[in-house]
Structures are given as C-alpha cells and as structure tokens.
Subunit: 197 residues, 2 copies
C-alpha cells in the first residue's frame, strides 16, 4: 500500500509538470499582452515548484532587467538591473547553463547582493537561461527561502520553461513587427500602468 | 499489487508525454534546419502515440501542403496538397478545432480520398491545428490503422504539439528574416536533396 501511495504522489507531480508546460504552450499561440503572459508564466512556475521567489530577467541594451516576478515589490519591475558580469544570474547568462545551488546561495562567490531584495537571504537557487535561436536573451530564477535539494525533474522543468519563454517573447516581437531586440523594453512596453517603472 | 502496477504504467505514460514535450521544446531554441526539426517532431509524436501514420501539413499560398510525415512515400512531401475546403484536415484548419474520430474515419462525410495514400483506409483519426498568433498555419494528423479510442491525454498532447510546431516554424521564419508567410515553402526550402519535391 505504501508503494501505491508513493506512486500516486509521483504520478500527481509528473502530471502537474505536464499540465504546467501545456498551459505555458497555450500562452505561446495567444495574441495577448506580453507582460501579462510572462507574469502568468512566472506565477505558475513558482506555484508548481513551491518557490518563495521567481524572477525573470530579460536582456536590455547591455544589461539584464527584471521584467516579471512572483509578488513583485512596487517599482522593482523595470528598475532592478544586473550587468551580465554580475551575480549568479549574470553567470547563467554568460555560461548559457543551468545553475542549481541547494543551500547558502548567498555565500557563493558569484552572488551579488542588491541589499534591497529579500531574495538576497534565500538559501536555494535554481536558474536557467532564456534562449532564442541559440542566443541567451534572459534568465529565470527560482529561489527557496530554506535549503532545497533540486531534483533532476525540477532542473529539466525550468530549462523547458526558459525555452518556452524565449518563444513567447519572440512571438511578441514578431507580432509587433519589431526589428528591435531590446527584449526587456519589449516586455516593459506592455506593462499595465500601475506596474510601469 | 495490481493497483501499484497500474499506477506504474500510468506514471510511465505521463513521464513519456512530459519528455516528448521537453524534447520538442528543445527543438524550439535550436538554430537547426527546419525540415529536419519538423520531421523529428513528427517521428517522436507518432512513436509515442504508437500511430501508424503522422502527417504534417502547412499552409502554402492557398492550400495545405504535406511538409513532414512518418515514413513518407518518395515524392509525397511537397506534392500532396489539400484545399482548405477539403477533407477532415481542411475542416480542422477552417474550424481551428481538434478532431478525434475513433473508427471508420473514412466514412465521415468530411473525409477526402486521395486514393494514393495508404492512410485513406485507416480507422482512427486525430487531428489538431497548428496555430501562430491566433491564426491556423497548418494541421497535424495522427492515424491508427485499427480503431483507437483517443484518451483526453492524447488529445491534449496533440494540441500542445500543434502549438509548439507553430512556434518552431515562426522561429525559423524570424531566423531567416523572412516577411513571407508561405509556411509550406519555408519548410520545403530546407529539405535535404533526396527528399525535395
């Protein structure tokens, strides 16, 4: 019976992952407002992973800008910026690789303190690049306040989410007929007024 | 024990679905040859669903053209065409809806005989639109030679696959810097020589 119970739980988890990806894929074909879509994706992912924070950065002219977040502080969207040379997030963008740190992420030498983000004290950090046509155009970070050993499934899942976000942003760019590739600006120009930076 | 066995099978199926979508998502961010990507997706989907046929049509100037297939007959790719007013496939494109027929698909009044495709005698038919920014740009069909009652999971899965194919095609269009929206031509221009129509 214990085995059946365990299998049930496992089945439930995998089904949730599958449904998350299917819901994100549905966002890809919608002609909706980009910032709404990104915010919805970030919320769904952090809910599924029971994360305490989920931050999405997109590439601006020469830095990464926060364009969506789980429960964002007022004014954070469009204002928090990171150089590509800075922090764990910059490392993921430069290396085009998934990064998983299960505890004491803040002690990693690649870490950068913002001092004004509560996430700076969180233990666990999972981060994946957002990729379009082989190039990094952003980074998505999931954080847990307490230590969290990321499973292979969780890593795989965030990688896929990063790929799908790349598609969603590209679709928006195409839909707007934009040549520009300042992706952060692209996401921010569609923000509702009360969140605009 | 019987319950555990059943759960194991179910878990295995859902995991396979999740991995399929993750493999397709990986195709989205690659700067690869479009026709290779589409062919790979069609093969993966028909393998997972144990289908006897999988045909992908994309919109040309004013008709649907076969651009990828499981085990295509020589010369079929780029030559088999369907008007939007024709057959089950045309119906799916016009209605933008999933269509599932579990048996005797060939007796459906919307069916169109090509006479030269073996698929014309198959019993079960599952078909989903390929959508970009709310518009249909193609149709993907899965067929089983024998009657097959499609599960909700299978329908959901093919819907997602249709959405992801829409993204993959759009990424290729953007990568090639094309204004054109003859999607069939876009897929066919990248065909390896031995398969070119």
């Amino acid at each position: 019976m214990a085995k059946a119970r365990e299998l049930e739980l496992q089945l439930h988890r995998v089904e949730e992952q599958l449904h998350l990806i299917q819901r994100i894929a549905r966002q890809l074909v919608r002609t909706g407002v980009l910032s709404d879509s990104l915010q919805r994706i970030v919320t769904m992912v952090s809910d599924l992973m029971q994360a305490d924070s989920c931050l999405l950065y997109l590439l601006g002219d020469d830095d990464l800008m926060l364009v969506a977040a789980k429960d964002p502080r007022p004014g954070a969207i469009g204002n928090v910026r990171l150089r590509l040379s800075e922090g764990l997030t910059g490392w993921v963008a430069r290396e085009r690789r998934l990064l998983a740190i299960s505890q004491e992420a803040y002690n990693d030498t690649r870490f950068k303190f913002f001092r004004d983000l509560p996430e700076d004290t969180f233990e666990a950090f999972l981060s994946a690049p957002v990729i379009v046509a082989g190039r990094v155009i952003g980074v998505i970070n999931l954080q847990h306040r307490r230590p969290h050993a990321h499973t292979g499934d969780e890593m795989e899942m965030l990688t896929t989410v990063g790929e799908l976000i790349g598609c969603r942003v590209t679709m928006a760019r195409l839909e707007l007929g934009l040549e520009q590739i300042n992706y952060a600006e692209l996401a921010l120009r569609t923000l509702p007024a009360e969140q605009a930076p």
